[in-house]
């Protein structure tokens, strides 16, 4: 072999090694995304008259909100047990779940959405968070796949007027006003609004801030990044501003740290409030203990549990199966699945275009009440928002942490 050829050979080997390593690395990235694939009794259709259809569950099992993600998945699983097998035109259909994890990250979410499309799902339950959903919506819209989320509350999600996005929880346009109204009732004259730079938190804080300013309340806007640990500078700002209340519109990991660090800085008398993003049992652990979390207020994007007609039965089933208290938005995801199946039945077809048309006409009686989806935009309501009797800011449920758990405020 000549010297040149040997060098070439050497170089080829290096390039090959690099390519292999790269493939390995990307393989890792890829598989990191999907922790679970259609578990349970999926498989091929064994008898001629049973047809398998796939429904996607796009949620966030890892990432910052595994508790919300797990609850959403369980909601869909419970619904699968109840509605997963149905008859239509003399044929038996069986649903297979495709559960994918988007880590609540926009980039990951687009990949998951594309995977769902490739899997050939007829509909998707999810995703979990507003920020991540924003990058999935155009993909589902383009491929005409209906998407029903049980927990995306951000008004931004369907502001563009797509007709494939539906939700069974309430829009933050209502929740934000409810938070502002609550702060006013608590006689707050100066209020800090703090978000985490994500689409959900910024949207909710914007609505609340506008409502507070309209009432002449002095506000200060603060923010952090999701994943931040040290909030001492924000705490110092809050201390200097001297507010009566702080409305933290992000999620519980940062909310818990903020509360903890505020207490450590001696700001125990500032009322701590938040939206549905902090109303999780995890928050109490994040603040460093029951006594730190005591007195935190939170609103939620749905009726109070005692006003949800099917809640008791749902909670009993949930606790029996998982041995846990019902996680946030589990019943909304259960309803999302139920509504999707109802739409398929109403359409009499598994063609996604027919399902979308049926969803807009559908009236569904679920755990959270009897609801339909808005088929046209009207004021704060966008296409796909839940329409349900009594959906007003004054009906937004209020919770307070007492003795280590969220209890409804009467």
């Amino acid at each position: 072999m000549t010297k040149g050829a040997r060098m070439l050979h050497e170089r080829t080997r290096k390039v090959l090694a690099l390519a292999l390593a790269a493939i390995l690395a990307f393989g890792l990235f890829g598989t990191a995304g999907c922790t679970e694939d259609g578990e349970g009794d999926g498989g091929e259709a064994t008898e001629g008259d049973v047809e398998i259809i796939k429904i996607g569950v796009q949620t966030a099992l890892t990432g910052p909100l595994p508790d919300y993600g797990e609850a959403a998945k369980r909601g869909a699983e419970l619904a699968l047990e109840d509605f997963g097998t149905f008859e239509m035109d003399g044929k038996t259909y069986q649903v297979e779940l495709v559960v994918l994890d988007d880590k609540a990250e926009p980039a990951e979410s687009a990949v998951v959405a594309q995977t769902m499309v490739d899997e050939g799902v007829v509909g998707v339950i999810g995703s979990l968070t507003t920020g991540a959903t924003l990058s999935a919506i155009p993909i589902y819209a383009e491929n005409r796949i209906p998407q029903i989320s049980g927990s995306v509350t951000g008004p931004k999600a369907n502001a563009e007027g797509v007709d494939t996005f539906y939700r069974t929880c309430w829009s933050d346009a209502i929740q934000g006003e409810a938070l502002a109204a609550w702060a006013l009732e608590l006689d707050a004259k100066k209020v800090v609004l703090m978000d985490d730079n994500g689409a959900y938190a910024v949207g909710l804080a914007d609505v609340a801030e506008a409502a507070l300013k309209a009432e002449g309340v002095e506000t200060l806007r603060q923010n952090c990044q999701s994943g931040d640990k040290d909030l001492s500078a924000q705490v110092a700002n809050v201390k200097e501003f001297g507010p009566d209340a702080i409305i933290f519109t992000g999620y519980h990991p940062e909310a818990g740290l903020m509360r903890k660090q505020m207490l450590e800085a001696g700001l125990a008398d500032v009322i701590f409030m938040g939206g549905d993003g902090i109303k999780s049992a995890e928050l109490i652990a994040q603040t460093g203990g029951v006594e730190n979390a005591e007195g935190i207020y939170a609103t939620f994007g749905g009726f109070p549990e005692d006003q949800q007609p099917g809640y008791e039965a749902f909670a009993a089933k949930y606790e029996e199966k998982y041995g846990d208290a019902v996680g946030p938005y589990a019943q909304n995801n259960y309803d999302a699945f139920g509504a999707l199946i109802a739409a398929i039945k109403a359409a009499g077809s598994t063609d996604t275009e027919d399902i979308i048309a049926a969803l807009r006409e559908l009236e569904y009686e679920g755990v959270t009440g009897t609801f339909s989806f808005a088929s046209e935009a009207d004021g704060a309501v966008s296409v796909g928002d839940i329409v349900v009797a009594g959906l007003t800011p004054s009906n937004v449920p209020r919770y307070v942490v007492e003795g280590g758990e969220f209890v409804a405020v009467k």
């Binding site: 390593a21 595994p66 001492s232 500078a233 924000q234 700002n237 903890k260 994040q286 730190n292």
Partner: protein
Amino acid sequence: MSLDHIVSVTIGGLTVGMIYALIALGYTMVYGVLKFINFAHGEVFTIGGYVAAFTLLGLGVNDDMSPLVLAGCVVLALLAAVLVPMAIGFLIERIAYRPLRGRSRIIPLLSAIGVSIVMQQLIILVFGPAPVSMPSLAVGSASFVVFGIRIRVLALVIIAVSSALMLGLTYLVKSTRIGKAMRATSQDMEAAEMMGIDTNKTIAFTFVVGSALAGIGGFLVVMYYGSLKYDAGFLYGLKAFTSAVLGGIGNIPGAVVGAIVLGMTETYGVSLDLGFMAWFVVAGLILGLYVQMVRVPRRRLQHIADDRRTPAYEKSITDVYRLTPYYGFKTLLAERTDALLSVSAAHAVRLMFGNLFLAVVAAVMFANASVRIDTRWQPVIAFVVLMVILMFRPSGILGEAITEKV
């Protein structure tokens, strides 16, 4: 910004910076010896934190324990948070890096990224995806008040412990046998081997020490913030790596300085108001005036050709700079006879406008002193500070490590 505010933000920045520093040391030491960035280092930190948290949770610490037992538990957790990362650091080096040593530099880098992802998934598998949270301990949240300013004891402990560790590390590298071996390996691995230094052992030692420091960092974070998530190491690792580069990669004191600068930039970036920022502009103005009045005229005088040097000519050059509004413009408007003089005049006028601009900016900022900068600008501010520092000092604040001759 009130004094209270400034002190709390400064202490916050120092605490954050010290934790970055503990992690940054691992990056910088490995780079110093192997000229390679160990991207899995952030995960070693996370493991340290998780091990500490689970030890404390497993021992069931609470405030009702007697102080002695509690102290024992904390020491045990610290030990676990040091020993486990040490073992993991050793294994990573042995399994993922040593077989690739001597290849092109990009290959261990890829391996490092792969290890980082694998470790993150392992943390999820072993500990679960939910963040681990510690119950608040009275010891952890104790604070005292000086002149009306509340200071957390643990913040001071973090600053003290980190400083002590860094001094210890400097001693280790500068004045011990193994430190000497590290420096030799870093300088020239082959030559060191020929001198009878076991470079494999030295490199493994470097990884073990760096991992121990990261583990202590994880322990402190768990004690201070009370919670940790499986991917925390990514962000901390990124910031620590930035600190190491900012201070001069491979340079041990540099990593500490870079980390403190980064920590301060982050916390100040969140709580700046215009009045406070104006002082930085004032500092810039003072520097600008110094340049115009002292530094540049002195330089210019050296450029005068010997045959033209007269006291009067020297004075005219100095005056162009020091009394620009009159002499500068006068020279510019006069018929150009002298090249040096007219170039100096144009230069002086530019400098003057620059300084005027700074003065106006400072005045406007002071006039709006109470306006707070939107905290969303924090990343931008941090980025600009880093850019400016690296523009003027491309190899970092303290320069890249040049190992001194052994």
